[in-house]
């Protein structure tokens, strides 16, 4: 069985947020839900400042606090290491969200079709789309995935359920890489099988020192960072995203 992991090269990341865009298009996530989020940090005092960027997908922890607390088993750990959310079973208690130290869970506060960046009910928009909401809906997301055959792919499903980064399970199962990895113009994101010694992720982790976020909590994340350092008390976010629901 594969042991999927992501390696993020902080030296290469320029904070262009193409990964965030790719994720939104691929997974049809509603407004203000960022399954992939890129922190833009600033450190030091003028004129000695340093700006750096840190992409933050779901960490797909081996000892996932969110999967532990889910009262109905909608959040679970797959054998290949992906932490999946069964939107067909989720009751919307949001316990996973408070348990997660990384803040990667996003709740559908209202009907996702009413919460996209465009008003799909608008007359002018309907003329173009023919009433489809949203018109670019990815058909791959509708199939059940994994040995368990559960509805775990994509976002923007129902109001009142939790969704988060799936590592693009619908792509990974077809042998493709997650959308964020595929779209990074600077090859800062890498995805692959840790058990395969020839995979990029295994090679990178052999060659370079790495760290994982909040490792001290014992969550055993599957996302490794190379070429940088974890955010500290010195790291200030430059522009924060504001809630829009």
């Amino acid at each position: 069985m594969a042991r999927y992991a992501m390696v993020i090269d902080l030296d290469r990341c320029t904070g262009c947020r193409a990964c965030m865009q790719a994720c939104k298009v691929e997974n049809n996530t509603p407004m203000a839900n960022f399954w992939m989020y890129v922190f833009r940090f600033e450190e030091g005092e003028y004129p000695n400042t340093h700006v750096w960027f840190m992409p933050r997908p779901c960490m797909h922890c081996d000892n996932a606090p969110c999967a532990k607390v889910c009262p109905v088993g909608a959040r679970y750990k797959r054998v290949d290491g992906l932490v999946a959310t069964d939107w067909d079973r989720c009751i919307g208690c949001r316990y996973c969200e408070v348990a997660c130290p990384y803040g990667v869970n996003y709740f559908n506060w209202k009907k996702p079709s009413k919460n996209y960046y465009l008003d799909w009910q608008d007359e002018d928009v309907v003329q173009v789309t023919g009433g489809a909401v949203p018109p670019y809906r990815n058909p791959d997301l509708d199939a059940p995935y994994g040995e368990e055959h559960r509805r775990t792919a994509g976002g923007g499903r129902l109001k009142g359920v939790i969704e988060k980064c799936t590592f693009c399970v619908h792509r990974v199962e077809r042998g493709l890489k997650p959308a964020c990895v595929e779209n990074c113009p600077l090859f800062a994101l890498h995805f692959g099988d840790l058990d395969d010694p020839n995979s990029t992720v295994a090679q990178l982790l052999r060659r370079k020192p790495s760290f994982r976020l909040l490792e001290e909590l014992g969550t055993e994340p599957r996302v490794y960072y190379i070429g940088g350092h974890p955010p500290s008390t010195e790291s200030r976010q430059i522009e924060e995203v504001k809630a829009r629901v």
């Binding site: 909608a74 109001k159 995203v241």
Partner: protein, 496 residues
């Protein structure tokens, strides 16, 4: 004798105009709550002030979860009374037994409702929580031990405890006779039956007592074992929940007992000794809780890492300071009130006699600026500037303190009023503390540098919570209008 037989005890079945008025007001409030929930059900939780933790800068658990804990905490009263009366043979507390059990049952029903209100998919919740239940989730304990086990045990205890009275009341003709017969279920109050009942209730009380600790601890564990949430992750969380549950539960029971004493004019049954005894128990629990609080704040501010410090500072001096210090003040004032019966007699004689009327005037006056500030805080009123707002807030505090000071001489002579005042104060504090447990760890406790969040409940959440309180009061009022709230008098037994 004939008139005496027709009159059921404790005002059962007698509905005065004032009572109808009360029921009408409560029904309107419940209806308003249902309307508010219908908005939430249709539009989703976007109608609430809850938002995602992290990039959205919000709290995903808020008022609802706080009130789940509060309601479960209040349900503490029932077990405590059962345990105290049966196991420690404190028979003089017996008149409170049924009041406490009814409070427990109704509080747990409200808690179950509140959990469903908080779910994004409530209909799924009802099914999936049973269908896919996972014992590994801390919620499992909430549903099995608290909502199911505790509620079920309390219902049975209430039923068994009331069977004798039902049998006695079923002897009299009346519209409720069938109901009492059903409740009595063949029980005729023979000596043999009575001893058997005593025995069963005793063992049931023993069986419920472990729930006293475990049930309230499970709710503490929902928060206490989340290593990713500074402010929650603490071994003191579970014991703190048990103690705070005791404080709020006994506090509310004291308020209810004081109201019953006045409404039913039962000064002999609900004598001052009860209030003095329970008041002292409440006092000890408050002191224990204050001790826990000091320990917690000292540990987190002195030795905690910067995330813990950030939350502590938001409580002590930051965004939540008004609520934190308000809750502390309420607890301290409750301690002062509960210490009044221990004034030396010489000192008490020198306290000037005052009427509570002026205190009540100031208290009512304090509500005006307080509600203005509250409306502004909920974004329902936007005319006040920040300066005017803080001025009004301090005015409310000053008026409330004046009210308290003017009330003190009266309270030092009236044990019942003192116990009820303390009960109200600790419940205000309990609600505040519950919010402070739930919210700051989400808005100020993110381990990645997301920046501080905010949480302001909307009119939907506030209306629903008010509706829940109205529903609880409604159920309670109706219950004691169809069933005796205390054991039927020994004198009336003799009359049969």
């Amino acid at each position: 004798m004939a008139t005496r037989v027709e009159q059921l005890p404790y005002g059962i079945g007698r509905f005065s105009t004032r009572l109808y008025l009360l029921l009408a007001v409560l029904l309107v409030l419940v209806g308003w709550g249902i309307f508010a929930y219908s908005r939430e059900f249709v539009e989703g939780l976007a109608m609430t002030g809850l938002r995602n933790i992290g990039t959205m800068g919000g709290a995903t658990w808020g008022l609802y979860v706080s009130f789940v804990i509060y309601f479960v905490g209040v349900s503490f009263a029932g077990i405590t009374m059962a345990a105290l009366i049966r196991l420690f043979r404190l028979d003089h507390l017996r008149p409170l037994s049924r009041m406490a059990e009814a409070l427990t049952v109704i509080a747990l029903v409200l808690a179950a409702f509140t959990i469903l209100l908080d779910l994004g998919q409530p209909l799924r919740g009802v099914i999936n929580l049973f269908r896919y239940a996972r014992p590994q989730s801390p919620f499992f304990g909430t549903f099995t031990l608290v909502i199911s086990g505790y509620l079920f045990a309390s219902l049975i205890y209430l039923y068994l405890d009331g069977r004798r009275d039902a049998a006695l009341l079923a002897r009299q003709p009346g519209p409720l006779r069938g109901f009492y017969r059903l409740w009595a279920a063949g029980y005729r109050d023979t000596p043999a039956e009575r001893t058997r009942h005593e025995r069963v209730s005793f063992w049931l009380a023993i069986a419920i007592v472990p729930l006293l600790v475990t049930a309230h601890s499970t709710l503490g564990f929902v928060f206490g074992i989340q290593s990713g949430r500074p402010g929650w992750f603490s071994t003191l969380q579970a014991p703190g929940f048990v103690v705070m549950a005791g404080v709020s539960g006994i506090g509310l029971l004291l308020v209810i007992a004081a109201v019953m004493r006045v409404v039913l004019a039962e000064r002999e049954q609900l004598h001052e000794g009860i209030f003095r005894w329970l008041g002292t128990l409440l006092l000890l629990l408050i002191l224990a809780y204050l001790y826990f609080m000091v320990v917690e704040v000292l540990t987190t501010t002195y030795a905690g890492h910067h995330h813990e410090v950030r939350i502590s500072l938001s409580l002590l001096t930051g965004q939540f300071a008004w609520l934190f210090w308000g809750a502390v003040a309420a607890l301290v004032l409750a301690v002062i009130v509960l210490l009044l019966p221990y004034l030396p007699p010489g000192l008490r004689a020198r306290v000037p006699a005052t009427r509570p009327r002026w205190a009540l005037v100031f208290g009512a006056a304090a509500l005006v600026p307080a509600s203005l500030v509250a409306l502004q805080g909920l974004n329902l009123l936007t005319v006040l500037s920040a300066g005017a707002r803080s001025l009004l807030a301090w005015l409310a505090v000053a008026l409330a303190l004046l009210c308290f000071l003017l009330l003190l001489p009266h309270l030092s002579r009236n044990v019942v009023a003192a116990a009820a005042t303390a009960g109200i104060l600790v419940n205000v504090a309990a609600i505040g503390k519950r919010l402070l447990i739930v919210v700051p760890s989400q808005t100020h406790g993110t381990l990645l540098p997301y920046g501080d969040g905010t949480y302001t409940p909307t009119w939907v959440e506030v209306s629903i919570v008010i509706g829940l309180f109205a529903l609880g009061t409604l159920l309670y009022t109706l219950f004691f209008k169809v069933f005796p709230i205390m054991e039927v008098h020994a004198a009336e037994e003799g009359a049969q």
